[in-house]
Structures are given as structure tokens and as C-alpha cells.
């Protein structure tokens, strides 16, 4: 099937505690932090590749197109999924500050109209803004069904539908969406048998996590096309619905850590100091 995967670059999430707020509070900076592909989007790429290949054989069953909205240098971000095996890229040039989830969803809807994929597979949330809204908005704009927080995917109904296990507060909710659809993925989508496309042998187990790009993949990715367009070319206004009046650091936790010597001392502190026992 033809799968569109939107990917965002984010400041290295493992060092999110090094993010800084400008002196006047008007902006945040990630200076000194590397750009990384949003981890959930990387998982979406992996899931898309698994859906579209005969596992282990190297045969592909359809195209995986990756798209990123952002400044021109997000082309670098797009090279990674291309090196993992995606077919081609689309770069929608826009200033980061003008892109809230609503603008992203409207732009993606226009792209979907152009590309007519069978499936949009994306991260459940970008771990910079932690909004968790673009996929749901996109599905609504398209009038498509959706499955958010996907932890498993299975192609059913002769390729016309997907059975999706969703990670919800109270357990696992399973539903079936008729394609075309929007699916947003959760962490567990990259466990070894989370994706079943009906073509890959049922006993095939993938490695845990997203695949690394091979050297060959990296070389090939350099030649893969990345179409470059502007947000305005899609007829989308760069006007976010959510703006930020200011940013601040969270208040520090009061008091430093106390190292206790023994279980007895811990219980004593919890009783008399913290008064929680």
C-alpha cells in the first residue's frame, strides 16, 4: 500500500532538561542540542516499512513517502527515514514558529489530497510540544477514520482494512478501520511481532525497535528525491491557532536529596519528616 509518514525533527529528547528559556521568556532555545527525528515518528517509519515489505526478503510491497514541515534544513531529518528504506521525501518549507498542530494538520490534508495514500501513519505526539493532536485533526479534515495510540497493526479484509490495538488508560482497545485511514503510533508498535501485513511469514520476528540505516541505505538515500514545496503552495496560511505568550522553567523541587543509610532510617524519615506513613 501507499503510506505517507509525516516526520518532525525535535531537539534531542534525551537531553530535554537542557532546553532553555530566553531572558524575556518569549522563546525557548535548544542551543547545543542535536536535532533528532521525533522518536514516535521514527517508530511510524519502522511500522510503515514493516507493513510494506515481505519481512526479511528485501521485497517491498509499496511506497513509503516521508514528509516534514519546517525550515529547509529538515532535509537532513528526511534523509534518515530514506536511509531506513522509505521511497521518497517531501519537504514543506515553513517557519517552525508558525506551525502548530492545526497548521500541520491542514497542510498534511492538502498533501494527502495530492498524493492519495492508503494510509497516513504518524507519531502520536511530537515530544517537543507534547501536543498529541495533529493526527486526530488530520483524520477529521479528511473525513477518514483513525486509530490513535496504536501498539499493534494487522492487515485484514484482503488489504482493505487494518485491525489496530490501541493502548488506552484502562488496557487495550481493538478496532478496525477501513482504509484509507490515519493511524498514530505508540511505543510498543516496534516490538518484534506488532505489525502483521499478511505477507511476511507469521513467525517472522523483527528486532526490537526501529531499524538502523545500513551503509548501503545511507548511500542510496543520498540519491532519493526530496520534493521541496512551500506551505503557501498548499494554500495553507501560516497562522497558528495556539500561540505562546511566554515560556518558563518549571519550579525546582524544593530541597536536595537525602541519602538514607538503612530501611529503618527511611521509615523513620517517612514517618516524622515527610509524614506520609
Amino acid at each position: 500500500m501507499k503510506i505517507l509518514v509525516p516526520v518532525k525533527r525535535v531537539a534531542d529528547p534525551d537531553n530535554a532538561n537542557k532546553m532553555k528559556v530566553s531572558a524575556d521568556g518569549s522563546s525557548v532555545t535548544s542551543e547545543g542540542l542535536e536535532w533528532k527525528i521525533n522518536p514516535f515518528d521514527e517508530y511510524a517509519v519502522e511500522a510503515a516499512l514493516r507493513l510494506n515489505e515481505k519481512g526479511g526478503s528485501g521485497d517491498t510491497l509499496g511506497d513509503v513517502i516521508v514528509v516534514s514541515l519546517g525550515p529547509a534544513d529538515v532535509a537532513t531529518t528526511l534523509r534518515q527515514p530514506l536511509a531506513m528504506g522509505a521511497t521518497r521525501g517531501i519537504l514543506v518549507e515553513a517557519e517552525d514558529a508558525t506551525l502548530d498542530s492545526a497548521a500541520v494538520a491542514r497542510a498534511l490534508a492538502k498533501l494527502v489530497e495530492k498524493e492519495s495514500p492508503d494510509l497516513v501513519l504518524m507519531g502520536k505526539q511530537a515530544v517537543d510540544g507534547d501536543s498529541n493532536t495533529a493526527g486526530q485533526m488530520l483524520a477529521e479534515h479528511l473525513g477518514w477514520p483513525m486509530a490513535t495510540f496504536a501498539m499493534s497493526l494487522e492487515v485484514v479484509d484482503g488489504g482493505k482494512a487494518l485491525r489496530v490495538g490501541r493502548e488506552v488508560d484502562t488496557g487495550v482497545l481493538t478496532l478496525e478501520v477501513t482504509l484509507p485511514a490515519v493511524v498514530t503510533v505508540d511505543l510498543r508498535i516496534v516490538t518484534p511481532t506488532a505489525v502483521k501485513n499478511g505477507v511476511t511469514p507469521a513467525d517472522h520476528a523483527y528486532n526490537e525497535g526501529a531499524r538502523y540505516a545500513s551503509l548501503k541505505g545511507i548511500m542510496q538515500a543520498k540519491k532519493k528525491p526530496i520534493d521541496q514545496i512551500k506551505l503557501a503552495d498548499l494554500g495553507v496560511e501560516a497562522k497558528p491557532l495556539v500561540s505562546y505568550a511566554k515560556f518558563e522553567m518549571p519550579p525546582a523541587r524544593s530541597g536536595a536529596v537525602t541519602y538514607v543509610e538503612s530501611v529503618e532510617q527511611l521509615v523513620e524519615k517517612l514517618k516524622t519528616e515527610a509524614k506520609v506513613l
Binding site: A11, P13, M19, V21, V28, D100, S101, A102, A105, V127, D130, S131, N132, T133, Q136, M137, A139, E140, H141, W144, P145, M146, A147, T148, F149, E167, D169, T170, G171, V172, L173, T174, L175, E176, V177, A181, L187, R188, T191, L241, V242, Y244, K246, F247, E248, P250, R253, V257, T258, Y259, V260, V263, E264, L266, V267, K269, L270, A274, V276, L277
Partner: protein, 324 residues
């Protein structure tokens, strides 16, 4: 003046308690702006849920019976219609997985921006500002929603559940609106493990285990006795969930549940940024870890450097004694 519509969640035919955080938020904004708030319950078992929702001081409760298991496509159009008809300035829900699933879809129908997972709200004249964690809780942004209607999801751990208000709100039927998208999605099943323990997001005490527990059996034999001695809820790190030691819905963190109990005990958890994001709002934090340098020390109040397989049974015994 801002009128607010709270979208309440129905779980097993009842009004889900987590929705009371959104009710608290709505009541706060309504009183600050001189507006009113209503509650809408849409789904299977709406009548029963509406009767329960009527206890919390809403101007009225709207009820829409929609048969079958929850999928957003079956509910969103009904919510959007009620939101439009009522002329609400804000449409809100608690930011659980249902609220996060449904509300952006509603927002797209309304042309509204979403302030998601907010930690607090402030009203200054006509301007409403939503303070929300970003970057795994390492930055707080003060968001303004520029659209005419704002859709807001609220973080359960930051808004105390609303209390009963005395009396009962009048209940009205809301119009159920069909959505073509709903014909292309089918609810299959909801599998949940029932537990006798308190709910993770509502518990006063949470004991969470990490990769260091090494197995599901050890969660049962080593951690559970401590959980029960403290009358706590059980939580876990992603690594423990991924390894299959405990169900995924026990995961605490940026992508799991956000908790803020009076006491959080992290056992054999290193304290990765993504884990801290889900528990650093806890009042008192205890870490039990072999490694004195583990990053959990950045947020812990008390740190016991020890092998958990010795320390946890000893702590269980000591807690039992202290409580006896």
C-alpha cells in the same frame, strides 16, 4: 463571560471519575469569568452517567445515548453540535487517552485550536491563558488559543477532582449526529485487567518498579507486598512494561500516565527524562537504587542506596510494623 462545555467520559456505563478534573477546571474558569458550565455525556450508558454527572454543580447535563463501544468517530459530531448550539467558549475534557483521542477531532470540526494537557489556567480580564508542560515537563508554555472557540484538555494530576455540589443539575437530551467516518471504523473489544488496588492516577501512594525487577514473578513476589502494605497503586517504567513484567497501562511517564501522589516510591528505576515527566509532581519521592548516581536522585527526597531484593522485603516488613 465564558460558558464551558465539559465532555465527560463514560466507562462501563458510569461517569468516569477522571472527568472530575475537567469539571474542576470548568468550574474555575466559569467562576472567574461569570460564565456557566454544562456537562455532556455521549456514549453507551449515557442516562446512568448523566445522573451521576448531575451531582457536580453544572448548570445542566446533556445526555446522548450512542450504542456500542467507544470510537471517536461516533461521538465527535455529537459533541461538536452540542458545542456549537450552546455557544460555548471552551470545550474541555480530561487528558486521558479518550480525551486526547476525541477532543482534537472535535476541535477540527469546530475550527478550534487545542491547548492540550494543561497544568493550570489563569483568567485576566477577557484573556485566558493555559499553562502547559512541554519538552517532557522541562518547559512550561503559557498558551493562548486564538480561535473563537478553544478546546482544552486538562491534566488529571494537576486538577483536583471536583466535589459534589449538593442538589442535581437538570438533565436534557442532546441531539445525536451521525458521521460518515463512523461507518468506516468498528469497535472490536476493550480488554482491561481489573485490579483491586487503587487506580494509578488517583492513588495517594504509588510504588513503581523498573527493569531491575527482572521478571513478572519478581514484581509479584518482591514489589507487590510493598504495594499492598502501603495500600498503594502499582506503577512501572517503560522498560518494565516493554519487557512484559507488567501490563502497559501501568507505565508512568511522558507517554504513560502522569501521577502526582503524596508518596512515590521508585524501585530499580534509573529516572530517565521520560519517566521523570510522569512523576516529578509527586509530593514525596523515594528512590531505591543500587546506583547512587542514578538520575532519579535529581527529584528524589530520600534515596536508599541498596539492592532492591534485600531492601524491598525489609521495607515491607518495616512498613507493616509502622502501620500496625
Amino acid at each position: 463571560m465564558a460558558d464551558i462545555l465539559v465532555v465527560g467520559e463514560i466507562l462501563d456505563g458510569s461517569f468516569r471519575k477522571s472527568s472530575l478534573s475537567a469539571v474542576r477546571f470548568a468550574a474555575e474558569v466559569a467562576s472567574a469569568t461569570g460564565g456557566a458550565f454544562d456537562i455532556l455525556v455521549a456514549g453507551d450508558g449515557a442516562a446512568g452517567a448523566a445522573a451521576e454527572a448531575a451531582k457536580y454543580g453544572a448548570r445542566k447535563v446533556l445526555s446522548a445515548q450512542i450504542d456500542g463501544g467507544y470510537v471517536a468517530e461516533k461521538v465527535a459530531a455529537t459533541v461538536a453540535k452540542a458545542a456549537r448550539d450552546g455557544g460555548y467558549a471552551i470545550v474541555t475534557a480530561t487528558a486521558g487517552t479518550t480525551g486526547k483521542d476525541l477532543m482534537p477531532r472535535v476541535a477540527a470540526k469546530l475550527g478550534a485550536g487545542v491547548a492540550s494537557d494543561i497544568a493550570s489556567v489563569s483568567v485576566d480580564g477577557g484573556a485566558i491563558t493555559y499553562r502547559r508542560p512541554m519538552y517532557a515537563g522541562n518547559i512550561f508554555g503559557h498558551a493562548r488559543v486564538e480561535s473563537e472557540v478553544a478546546v482544552v484538555t486538562v491534566r488529571q494530576s494537576e486538577f483536583e477532582p471536583a466535589g459534589e455540589a449538593g442538589g442535581a443539575s437538570p438533565i436534557e437530551a442532546a441531539e445525536v449526529v451521525a458521521d460518515p467516518a463512523a461507518e468506516r471504523v468498528k469497535f472490536v473489544s476493550l480488554e482491561s485487567q481489573k485490579s483491586e488496588r487503587p487506580d494509578l492516577t488517583e492513588a495517594d501512594v504509588v510504588v513503581a518498579g523498573g527493569r531491575a525487577l527482572k521478571s513478572a514473578e519478581n514484581f509479584g513476589s518482591v514489589l507487590e507486598p510493598l504495594v499492598d502494605a502501603l495500600g498503594a497503586a502499582m506503577g512501572a517504567s517503560r522498560a518494565a512494561c516493554d519487557a512484559g513484567y507488567v501490563p502497559n497501562d501501568l507505565q508512568v511517564g511522558q507517554t504513560g500516565k502522569v501521577v502526582a501522589p503524596k508518596l512515590y516510591v521508585a524501585v530499580g528505576i534509573s529516572g530517565a527524562i521520560q519517566h521523570l515527566a510522569g512523576m516529578k509532581g509527586s509530593k514525596t519521592i523515594v528512590a531505591i537504587n543500587k546506583d547512587k548516581e542514578a538520575p532519579i536522585a535529581q527529584v528524589a527526597d530520600y534515596f536508599l542506596v541498596a539492592d532492591l531484593f534485600e531492601a524491598v522485603p525489609a521495607l515491607t516488613a518495616a512498613v507493616k510494623k509502622a502501620k500496625a
